[in-house]
Symmetry: D2
Subunit: 479 residues, 4 copies
């Protein structure tokens, strides 16, 4: 098979038996029948249908195989361009707000498999395991989520076990058996936790000892796994909440209660150097960022579109400061696009024959967006202003009060209904709990902004040395 349809995907998801809790209750019915999960499954189903749509197939299917584009391993710059277009195409379908479209983790699986020799160097079995995981994934078009943040107590990277060996906090290896390893503890912030075929576990960058060091994939309904989902924001009306009602992904704490991970699922085990080199040497970090910034470009386009639609509807473009705000958004969009072109133009083939877009550039891009996105949101808030405060609901428009609305708060050229349809979209992007989660999501994408900036600086040390050399040469030539 290789590529699923939306219907096939939804059918498979309906059979998932993940143990998911929300608001103090365990979800007993299939997640595909329960909100807010139902809507996001549906949104993802549409993405899978697009792969079969002849308008998009050449972009969304693999280069030479009938697989999802994200399972392709890029070998040339043309492959990068194709991947960029595919990522943007999918992102566009969800207005760039779906942080974890399937290609996000698929890409990680694909790149790790492309670099299987890297894992094999530590243990030939690891190489085979990651390869097998990849092959199964692309053949069945599996979906994944992942988790790599340890519970953070006092914002220290993670917490030495406070309650004795029996009660680890961060997930750790507590036993080895013939069948596999037993792990116990928790991980944070699995977006779409419990809603995917499998869960990818990558060791956190910060670990204390090798007990915390393992990488694997396991089915979401593995025995002992519990997902504690945050309370839902989900709103029902697509008029009042056009985004919240469709794209709320959920975020979960994952509890591993004596979970058995079979040996053939493990691709990294107690190897510090493997862990240290994992992100940069395989190219995985570049591709993670490449997916993310391409999604962010599309999101920025939607933000600019929303801003322009507001400006047009409110007829305020004649004000110079409004032009300036739109100009700022344009610069942000053009800068993001530029980072991506730059990363492609400077891409290089790595040790495993993978064409890797330039990491420094993508990291600079991610860091740029962490501080730029909040400003884009602020601009939309400034454009919509008080309209966001007293926006009527779908029910208001359906009630006997509606004529008052059409009389008093219509637009100059549009009905009150059409006016507030747009206002609600802008509001859901910037003012609702859905919108503020998006704000945090982008501001913290790839880590705390202060640390991302520091690490960008570290990554740039070689280039900076060259630049310093020019100065010595300059002083030399002056003599």
């Amino acid at each position: 098979m290789g590529i699923v349809t939306g219907a096939e995907y939804l059918k498979r998801m309906a059979c998932l038996k993940s143990n998911v809790w929300m608001d103090g209750k365990r979800i007993e019915r299939p997640l595909t029948d329960v909100e807010p999960f139902q809507s996001v499954f549906k949104a993802k189903g549409k993405l899978y249908d697009m792969v079969h749509d002849e308008r998009y197939a050449s972009t969304l299917q693999g280069k030479d195989q009938k697989i999802n584009f994200s399972y392709d391993i890029p070998r040339t710059k043309e492959d990068l361009v194709k991947r960029r277009k595919a990522t943007q195409l999918w992102a566009n379908e969800t207005l760039g707000v779906l942080g974890r479209s399937p290609d996000y983790v698929n890409t990680m699986i694909a790149i790790m498999a492309g670099a299987k020799k890297f894992f094999a160097e530590a243990d030939p079995q690891f190489g085979e395991n990651i390869d097998a995981i990849y092959k199964r994934a692309k053949e069945v078009d599996l979906t994944f989520t992942h988790t790599f943040v340890n519970p953070s107590i006092s914002r220290k990277p993670f917490y030495p076990d406070g309650q004795g060996k029996d009660q680890p906090i961060a997930t750790k290896i507590i036993e080895e058996t013939e069948e596999g390893i037993i792990v116990d503890g928790a991980r944070l912030l699995a977006t779409q936790g419990g809603m995917t075929d499998e869960l990818l576990v990558i060791p956190s960058a910060a670990f204390i000892d090798s007990d915390y060091l393992f990488g694997c994939t396991i089915p979401s309904d593995t025995k002992g796994l519990t997902f504690i989902n945050r309370p839902p924001y989900k709103k029902e009306s697509t008029f009042d909440s056009p985004l919240s009602s469709q794209f709320e992904e959920g975020d979960a704490i994952v509890v591993f209660d004596h979970v058995l991970v079979p040996w053939n699922r493990v691709f990294l085990y107690r190897n510090e150097w493997l862990m240290n080199d994992l992100f940069m040497k395989t190219g995985m970090e570049s591709f993670l960022l490449y997916q993310a910034v391409n999604r962010q470009i599309v999101k920025t386009e939607w933000l600019l579109g929303i801003a322009q639609a507001l400006v047009t509807m409110l007829d305020i473009e004649r004000h110079q400061h409004i032009q300036g705000k739109l100009g700022e958004m344009i610069i942000a969009l053009e800068a993001m696009v530029g980072f991506v072109y730059s990363s492609e133009a400077q891409a290089e083939v790595n040790d495993f024959g993978i064409m890797v877009p330039k990491l420094e550039t993508l990291k600079a891009c991610a860091s740029y967006y962490q501080t730029t996105y909040p400003r884009l949101i602020e601009i939309i808030q400034l454009l919509g202003a008080s309209h966001f405060i007293a926006a009527p609901s779908e029910k208001d428009f359906a009630s006997s009060i509606a004529p008052y609305l059409e009389r008093f708060i219509k637009g100059e050229y549009v009905s009150a209904y059409d006016k507030f349809q747009l206002i609600q979209l802008a509001r859901d992007m910037t003012m609702t709990e859905f919108g503020t989660r998006q704000l945090l999501y982008e501001r913290y994408f790839y880590g705390d902004p202060v640390r991302v900036l520091s690490s960008l600086n570290g990554l740039y040390s070689k280039k900076k040395e060259e630049l310093q050399m020019r100065i010595s040469d300059f002083f030399e030539r002056e003599k």
Copy 2:
């Protein structure tokens, strides 16, 4: 009587027959029985009880009369200090988030009455009317809300009637009768619309012709008045939503459908010059701002307290950039406090014997806060970071999943429950719809920030001339 208790106030409110619509339905029961109104009535009731509390009475009661402090007319600088303390005391009870505590509009009524000669100059009856309104208000301890924004179509100040004389958009005078004037149309953004004894109508600064020019107060349940309230944010749990569950004030469009305003309720009628001088000459603008910035000071204190509590709980104060963020908040608080001391130190008695705090300073303060408040909110978002994303609910803590929470996401020195109690408070201030409305509220308090800055510049022209003179003198002395 003069000062009501909370119980008396609530009883009176239960009798209000205002015509309030929300989410497509008319509220049929007393507003005091329906959320989100019920909670905010309760919150205001507590304020009234404080006036009787011996710990606060000397501050919250009038100087020489048993009336609410806000009905006192300040004559000396000491009166200002007393008023400042009273406003801050009430604001503190509601964490500074209740934009329309009763003193806000009470103050407007009091100051206008203090300047009754101003109105009398236009028509002796106006002077008597405003005085009578004031006297009744302070005797019965009435509450008011007010409205002075016209419907904004295309962000033009307001809209020439598109559908013929019969269908005005902005509220206008359509007839004069013996009993009074008939007005028709709508006004925007009455916070707590329908929830107060009376509604104060002040003409909008921008008006086209004298048909739109009238000032009055009328009971909230006057025939023909309809309040269209925005959909509620109200959350039930005080743990999950400590602010939204108590202090959601509502915002409403007010429709005047052939409303009759009796002549004795009118204090301004078709007088352009009266309108032009109203805000500055009476001192009303200074006092509006004085109330607001004192509330904002208290709010800033709460924000700083929340920030420090987060920093302490997460044990991150050792980081220099965290200290810097707290330092920024301290500067904001100290600056706000400074503006107020400055406005008091430079206060002057106006033509009506009212001691008026300096307007330029208070306007500079309001403008400063419009751009500073968003940064304070951003800082709290940066401090709480990912904790805001996956915060468990009260129901989670009450369920069988609770032990996992206590094990995996407790704080270093506090239980998970206590930790997330604070996180939820910070979250409700900065991340929920309640919090983003607060953001817009402060950012637009006293108008569009771009225009407020322009008008501050205009207000300052005399001082700037003096400063320019110094430069001429400097060039002169150099010769």
Copy 3:
């Protein structure tokens, strides 16, 4: 010939008879003998020598002809890449601070000649003239400066003549003769005014009537031309002022006192539509910006190099806020590089067969740099801090006081002399009059930042329409 050597160039310049005034005196000797002109001639001479240097010849010489690279007309993306490298190579030689290296205006001449059909459409003679100008220029390797800003009185674009027809302010056509046109008035801000072979006159974008509308080139020593140079910043010591002492270009007001422009020098004459389309239709605007932003990239590299050198010398990189400041500079550099790659990747061939890099992207880049450059300068000021205040001079180090300096203000690993050599370079970039002129230069490059942002917004209208369409489609699909 085609490409001159530095010596040939200097020899030619020594023969220029331009009428240049400075500090109240006319420069009587050859400019090449007088500071600050002498130094900048020398600096430009070095650039010409590089063209003959075998290490750089393949980059700095034309693709198939022995001409300066800037006279090549780009036809392919490869041509753009070659041009980018050449511009950066020259810019690097002058640390990016020489705003008007010869390629700047040469490029304008070349692109206009490449689009000679554009001019010919208005008048066949114009096409021939611009072509002849170009051919002579590339054959003799001429240098140009240009002027296109009218005198600004009250910041109105330019000034209606206050003193009668006889005393125009902005340069205008006052007579037509058989030999040519007589123009009279002034233009502003000709950098390197009087120091180049010829002066290119382009009409200002803002003109009142066709009397102000003409384009031509004329020799700098044309009769009636006077250049009023601003007072010099020039410092002598290359230790104290490594940049001011070498790269001070001068800025001049150009007075046209009844200057005769021969007909064969004119390529635009009273044609409004020609003027309106000139910058965008020929591609000239893109190429102007392309030259400038490539120079700015190099300058940013130098700024980052200087910042890193300071950080290293002062041993402060361990501070997180220092890493953050370097990180900010890296993002700026990467963003600039990205804009250029993006403009190349999206380049298109225009009506005249010229491969034009994408204008929107380059304009976004220019606008971005207007607000980013000041921050880069601020960062260097923050890094150098008090070292910039009491930096000793070359004479101090040569005096008997030197041992005190070496004892008390040396660096941890470097001598006081070496330490302050670097400090002085950083200081000259950011704290001297040379440095603050650079600040203004970059901040106003391509115009007032507020207007550039507005015009970027205008340029983007088509793309924004597309983005708005997506929103309509989204609402459509929801139905």
Copy 4:
């Protein structure tokens, strides 16, 4: 006597034999005859004359004595108000750009003497010494400069002696004799070094051991003292450089080459706790800041005046973004004024009977100005724009080219000469080396901005605890 006239002051200064070096040469003639010193002596002389001027005497003379106001020890809030007015009056005379008007260090002397018991606690002799220093100073109206920064190698606070005991870097005690102590080493950044009667030496906050711990005053021409002044910026023309030509204070490294400090000059000696409490317990820190922020207020007034003068002359106030920029400056001015009123309103009498303005508020103010001043400067740069680039000089206006200037670059209502008189003033404030030194001076006033913010946060810990308590109370009441 008590108060000197300008002439007396200058006469005394002419007799100073300080050992001052500049640009590699020792100044052999009296400093009062040599630029740039001469001008600043003259400027200070004018300040002294003002004290005798009957218009200012009641402000500038002591409350009950014929001494300089700065030698008064404030006991009441009225004393603070008088001091504020006096400081602002003097600051106004020098446009706020003279960082070290005599009152700056005089105040330190006065406050220390007011707290003589503090010193006496460590050693009765210290109390008597500081008192004697003070009495002599106020009787003779002495001037001082001070130094308290150690040489900074690698930005570590100061440097362990690298070259053996014989060659200390930071000034330290190397011997005790009967007459006094012998100190050796250097100190940094004495503004007006060598130009005052005496030099106040305060230990640096950061010291390694007690050898570096001493406080004293000594005559500027004490044997062994050398002042190495930075190269001068001094420009001659008061038209071209209205500030640089009058108010360039100089900055010097002070070398103590085996300097003998007599015992009766010492008021602090190897007492760590005395040092630790010195700034806060005596009130000295508050008064230092109080003087500085009052000067900064006056400077801000001048900046606003200059901005408004530019805006008026260029006729650009109709632009909303220009109004906004002026509005920003007004907010800054009002905020500064507010901080001062606040510090006065909350002033308290300390252990020594001195009325001390509130430290937290003044420190918040200082920190606020560190980041606000650069923006004020930027605004003026944005207002003046290209006018700053090609401003003609006094010599240009005196030459035969002048008519061209009057024709082409005059203002709409003013002559070119008057126009550029203002432009040059604005330019000298913001674009010259004088202006950029002012920028650094304000940005680093009271220390590195990052550290000042941290220390403000530390100072605020008690208040923050109170605010945190409110949150606990809030949670308590919810239960």
